[in-house]
């Protein structure tokens, strides 16, 4: 039976006895992450999905143009059309100073991004360990969970006045509100992630001689990662929501401020520009998280690819 295998094994044994390292059979090389991504893009271009997406976008744009600038339908008569928006956005001499060539546009973008970075980072750095710890120690969860359940349903907008009272200046209060929004989502999703781990992995790890700290680093953390990253995606979306709300009420820069200011000063094209910019930034930040998730969770990437 299995002649070849037998021969190979005997060969390996004799090599091992001679004290030389048995040569491992040539393993097929694992595809690199970018290779997987590239092949996935190539595959996607062979399906109809990307083309349908483009057609969908273009027809929406067409409908938007027809409604606002050609037919001037009721409800849409005050909405600036794509031509009006584009002629502000891509102009060297924008009427309201907001175009891709004006420094002030980027100043608003950067103000918002910087607040998101600070708030989101803080929420992640505090929320993930807290969630992990709540999932790890039942007693700690029993202490903290009811508090979370009471605080979480309070809409973030309701925090804004209190935040302004608490913190000196607008900057800190806007960041605080953004942080709060992200923090609850991150913590609770991390907790959910720990609780979703199958008991059998804990048992297996204990069988193999794990102490509690091994359980934490080898089972709880990696086991909760998929939920943590789902949580971070939601939390990122929620951060933008809270940020814009905060900026509309307080602040001197930022896209939320820009939108509110454009509304007050009848600069309708600016309003649309700021909204679309927010759309792009939200999409981009979400993609960034997905990228990190793929890096950290190779086992899931390979599962899909394989």
């Amino acid at each position: 039976m299995e002649r070849d295998e037998l021969d190979k094994s005997i060969e390996a044994q004799s090599l091992a006895e001679q004290g030389t390292q048995p040569t491992l059979p040539e393993e097929e090389r694992e595809p690199l992450t970018w290779e997987i991504m590239f092949s996935r893009i190539k595959y996607a271009l062979r399906t109809s999905a990307p083309y349908l997406g483009v057609v969908g976008l273009l027809s929406t744009l067409l409908a938007y143009w027809l409604l606002t600038e050609v037919i001037k339908a009721p409800l849409f008569d005050k909405v600036p059309g794509p031509v009006a928006v584009a002629s502000e956005w891509f102009s060297h001499h924008p009427m309201f100073r907001i175009s891709i060539y004006s420094g002030i546009y980027y100043k608003h973008i950067w103000a918002s991004c910087w607040r998101i970075i600070q708030a989101f980072t803080l929420a992640t750095v505090l929320g993930v360990p807290l969630g992990l710890f709540m999932g790890w120690k039942k007693v700690f969860k029993d202490y903290t969970f009811p508090f979370f359940e009471l605080i979480r349903p309070i809409p973030m907008l309701a925090w804004v006045p209190l935040a302004i009272l608490m913190f000196p200046g607008y900057e800190a209060s806007v960041i605080y509100v953004t942080f709060l929004g992200a923090f609850f989502v991150t913590t609770l999703n991390t907790l959910l992630g720990v609780e979703s781990i199958d008991e059998v992995y804990f048992r297996a790890a204990r069988c193999l001689g794990s102490r509690p700290r091994h359980l934490f680093f080898h089972v709880i953390v990696p086991g909760a990662l998929p939920f943590i990253f789902t949580g971070l995606q939601i939390s990122m979306g929620y951060s933008w929501f809270c940020l814009v709300a905060g900026e509309m009420i307080a602040g001197k820069y930022g896209l939320g401020y820009l939108i509110w200011n454009a509304y007050m000063e009848f600069q309708e094209p600016v309003l649309i520009i700021a909204m679309i910019t927010l759309g792009f930034l939200g999409w981009f930040s979400s993609a960034l998280i997905r990228l990190v998730a793929r890096r950290l969770m190779q086992w899931q990437v390979r599962e899909i690819a394989g």
Binding site: A12, L24, G209, H218, M297
Partner: protein, 296 residues
């Protein structure tokens, strides 16, 4: 056969490095009048009742009984996942559990689970080296070398850098057995490990387990409700009653080792199967009727 050549040679390279010894000197399990009751204050579900069983070191002991009869409960008690309500369990005359105490699970008695428990976030090699690394028995380099060697000997070297999700169910089960063997356990506890497998994969992996057993002579505590599997693998088949579990019948399987599939068509095998079936069928019937009453 292959493995026995590689693993079995006393003082062979692998036996030293991966700590697999071929003599069964340890791993005697002694279950003395054990009862296990769930929810003793309330529903009082008696899972195991007055069960006594001696498993000598190095025996392949198969437990057969109807579904939900308390076999797994008994295995969990040996593993240290939960305690007993009365009686004691000893391993090599060292008390594992009694109503007063339960010894924490440890690498001396490793469980291979029904649905598999390889860590999906670790590669095959990292899974296999996990035990020795966290116990601090080997350095990272030593563990990787020993792990590579063990995987090579067990015919799994080509997949050492793959994740469990990338390999077949049969392969995963082999890796899990390898992961257990890396720790040189005294006892292997297998809880219906091949249940979810198709018949063809099952025959391959049963033979594989037999090779590992023949080479290492570990004590094996194997739960199944597949009679063919029980007779093909076991040195003794213990038929237990429907819940609460008690030993109903002990059948000695005197088929010489190493075994292969030819025994499955022998007259002796057929006779054993009939004998086992008779004992099990009665219990299955009881369990079935009890189930019906519970439903009604």
């Amino acid at each position: 056969m292959i493995l026995s050549q590689i693993l079995g040679g006393k003082g062979g390279a692998l036996a030293k490095k991966a700590a697999i010894s071929s003599e069964a000197t340890a791993g005697k399990i002694s279950i003395r009048d054990v009862s296990i009751v769930y929810d003793p204050e309330g529903a009082r579900v008696v899972a195991v009742d007055g069960c006594s069983l001696e498993i000598p070191a190095g025996e392949f002991c198969v437990i057969v009984g109807p579904s939900g009869c308390g076999k797994t409960t008994l295995l969990n008690a040996i593993a240290g996942f939960h305690g007993v309500s009365s009686g004691e369990i000893y391993m090599d005359d060292q008390l594992l559990c009694s109503p007063e105490m339960t010894t924490e699970p440890g690498a001396d008695r490793i469980v291979v689970f029904q649905n598999g428990a390889l860590f999906p976030w670790k590669t095959v090699l990292d899974n296999v080296t996990f035990g020795p690394l966290i116990q601090g028995r080997m350095t990272r380099k030593e563990a990787r070398e020993a792990g590579h060697e063990l995987l090579l000997q067990m015919g799994l070297s080509g997949i050492s850098h793959r994740y469990p999700s990338e390999i077949s169910g049969g392969m995963r089960r082999r890796v899990e057995i390898a992961r257990a063997m890396m720790n040189d356990p005294k006892v292997l506890l297998l809880d219906e490990p091949f249940r979810a497998m198709d018949a063809l994969t099952k025959t391959v992996i049963q033979k594989y387990l037999l090779d590992v057993y023949d080479a290492s002579n570990k004590t094996v505590f194997f739960i199944t409700h597949d009679l063919e599997e029980a007779i093909f693998l076991g040195t003794r088949v213990i038929v237990v009653t429907s819940r609460p579990a008690q030993v109903k019948k002990v059948i000695n399987i005197e088929i010489p080792r190493p075994r292969d599939f030819r025994v499955l068509s022998s007259e002796y095998y057929r006779h054993l199967k009939e004998e086992t079936l008779e004992a099990v069928h009665e219990e299955a019937q009881k369990a079935f009727e009890a189930g019906e009453r519970e439903m009604a």
